[in-house]
Symmetry: C2
Subunit: 397 residues, 2 copies
């Protein structure tokens, strides 16, 4: 029996291949500091669980295919507060930002279509785009330039007749780069000029550590037809397990197509939608507290990184990730070695090797992504382990 070509072009999670080595290291009694996953340790606001507990209908029915009106209205109010109004029909609730991406790619890509994405990028973009028959066409960046990609000439040089969209993550996973207002407007201008969709994945919007504060491409003038936002409660409210996201656009033709896929899968989980609406009632202080915590963590990581000779890393401005080039030959080999051959007082560290965040073969080989989602003292220890590891690895190789 045949398997599809698209499935064979997709890959298992690149982080997964180190799982057996991690299991083995743990079996030997090693403690592993995990900088490799984006699961925050921040408590989910209790209103989520309270809303679930107060649900009192005897039948757990399907929700409406576009989403529960109550949740859509909560999201509308959230956007109104940051100065952008969306109509109810501009918002489709999805099973996480993941399903928003999946449905969107189904709507805009045909076999052979290309999506321009600055690399390094969130590796799962590959699967959503491949599933729809498309391919990522990378926009190049470098660690030396702090992974900045918003350069008009560089982007326009990559547009061809197969290009359907430009997709960015702002703030960026994995680099922490945040666009300036001018850069945002410039990207929209490129999209308009070349008749492309501009997809802005803004699930890390609340996680900024400098600059202008809460920002969205939705605030750009003239964005109605071209802009598509991907949003989610996962990171905003540390509610990754809720699987509640949304697809937002004022492009009516696009949203009409997306509705077909929403109807086919019937609905998003009812209780999680009820509870997600409650999340949008948390006070602004919640975000302030979380932001300060992540900023301290970022500062800790950066301080430690700057002390490691040969590391190239600009200070990230947002999200809770950073990419860094290390003075090693190969981050994959280094990661495996850290699990099999290294320990300091019985401890070692995991990160995400960089090459799987790139579409260009050979790029990112000496880079890693660090997710700073641990308590500060654990982060500091993890970074010390990284420094010790680099030194020992380079002596041994």
């Amino acid at each position: 029996m045949k398997l599809s070509q698209r499935a064979q072009l997709c890959e298992l999670s690149p982080m997964r291949k180190f799982h057996p080595f991690a299991v083995e290291a743990k079996a030997k009694g090693r403690k592993i500091y995990h900088l490799n996953i984006g699961q925050p340790d921040i408590a989910t606001p209790p209103v989520y669980f309270e809303a679930v507990q107060h649900f009192s209908q005897p039948v757990l029915e399907y929700a409406e295919s576009p989403g529960r009106p109550n949740l859509i209205h909560a999201i509308q109010r959230y956007y109104d507060q940051i100065g952008v109004h969306y109509d109810e029909g501009d918002i489709l609730i999805t099973t996480g930002g993941s399903e928003a991406l999946s449905i969107l790619m189904m709507c805009i890509l045909d076999p052979g279509s290309e999506v321009l994405v600055p690399e390094p990028f969130y590796p799962n973009y590959n699967t959503f785009i491949r599933a729809a028959g498309g391919v990522i066409h990378p926009i190049h960046t470098s660690p030396e330039e702090g992974y900045h990609y918003a350069d008009r000439a560089r982007i326009e040089a990559e547009i061809n007749e197969n290009t359907r969209a430009i997709m960015i993550t702002n703030p960026s996973n994995p680099t922490g780069v945040i666009l300036t207002p001018e850069e945002r407007q410039m990207l929209l201008e490129i999209a308009k000029e070349h008749d492309l969709y501009l997809i802005s994945d803004e699930v890390y919007r609340e996680f900024y550590y400098s600059g202008e504060g809460l920002a969205t491409l939705g605030a750009c003038a003239g964005s109605d037809e071209h802009l598509v936002l991907i949003d989610s409660v996962s990171k905003r409210f540390s509610a990754c397990g809720a699987r509640i996201g949304c697809l937002i656009s004022r492009n009516k033709a696009l949203m009409a197509e997306a509705m077909k896929f929403c109807q086919a899968r019937l609905s998003v989980a009812t209780l999680d939608q009820v509870a997600a609406a409650a999340l949008y009632t948390v006070e602004p202080e919640y975000f302030e507290t979380v932001r300060r915590e992540y900023q301290r963590r970022r500062d800790t990581v950066m301080e430690k990184l700057r002390q490691i000779p040969g590391v190239v890393c600009e200070e990230p401005q947002g999200a809770f990730y950073l990419m860094a080039a290390l003075p090693i030959d190969d981050a994959d080999k280094f990661q495996q070695w850290l699990l099999t051959d290294f320990e300091d007082h019985g401890e070692t560290v995991m990160f995400a090797p960089g090459h799987s965040f790139y579409a260009t073969p050979g790029k990112g080989v000496n880079e890693i992504r660090i997710a700073y989602v641990l308590k500060q003292e654990d982060l500091a220890r993890a970074m010390d382990l990284l420094a010790l590891g680099i030194e020992a690895y380079n002596k041994a190789h």
Copy 2:
């Protein structure tokens, strides 16, 4: 900007086009009996809500990509009880049976691939198959033959070089047809002989009203490589809003591809998985009670249908749907007229017109699907309204 060809080939829910007329009828004070939707009115077992209330982790984290082990083990025990053992790796938890179908089609279809499906079929199959670039190739049935499709010669005549799978719903939505053990084995033999996947959507497994009782194609000898099951808690436990389903197969190569898509979308909602595992602890009496209730409803509908002159309908053996051919010209026109021009004591009725359950153009035009998900007295009244409607419609046309 372009929209994908696949999206344009998909359709909005066929039930949806009558929504504006229903809204208008309700605005005029009409009461509508809904036989058009498959949302059961049976209470969800309270263990679901209890499990959710007892969840006490402070962070709502991502679940494991293949599903929470606890839920997978509950499903394994359920299958062990019906005499079929699956290993943990044979089961992937999905966001409803819908996502199981979507991921499966992504794994097995390429552009131009065909899936043999007996028509009439669940209309959303169209979208999942179209999304993956494939198309439904129908196996013909007729109301006069009670929509039976399990005929070896008829099925084999439709197999060609593009055929990748045979997909059935057993018990069937929309026809209520249930396969005999011999028919199940025969379908598997066809799949093996022609090297096809055999996909059995068994989400209505508990809803049988005669014959051998709980049955699954998983019990067929030699089904390991070819068989794929689609399952869900939605109908089994009247928990449609949980969006918990699963994809089951012993075909390791297929499940390895499916895992890629599971990893890309990260996980299924955590709380719903916790609660779904609790559903599997309900006692067998729960199913007995529900089954008796649906059987009474089916009997009520059949008794009423037999009294309408010119209706063609065999008694359905399972699920909670039936298809019937009516003595009218066009079920679409008839449905619209029932909403705009008909009432009896201020009441009217809705069903699902038959043609959208077919892939063959022109078929099912005078057929309807009835979902018997209302209380008996409401069902009886709804069927009387249908009889009165047919009479009045035929007089007026």
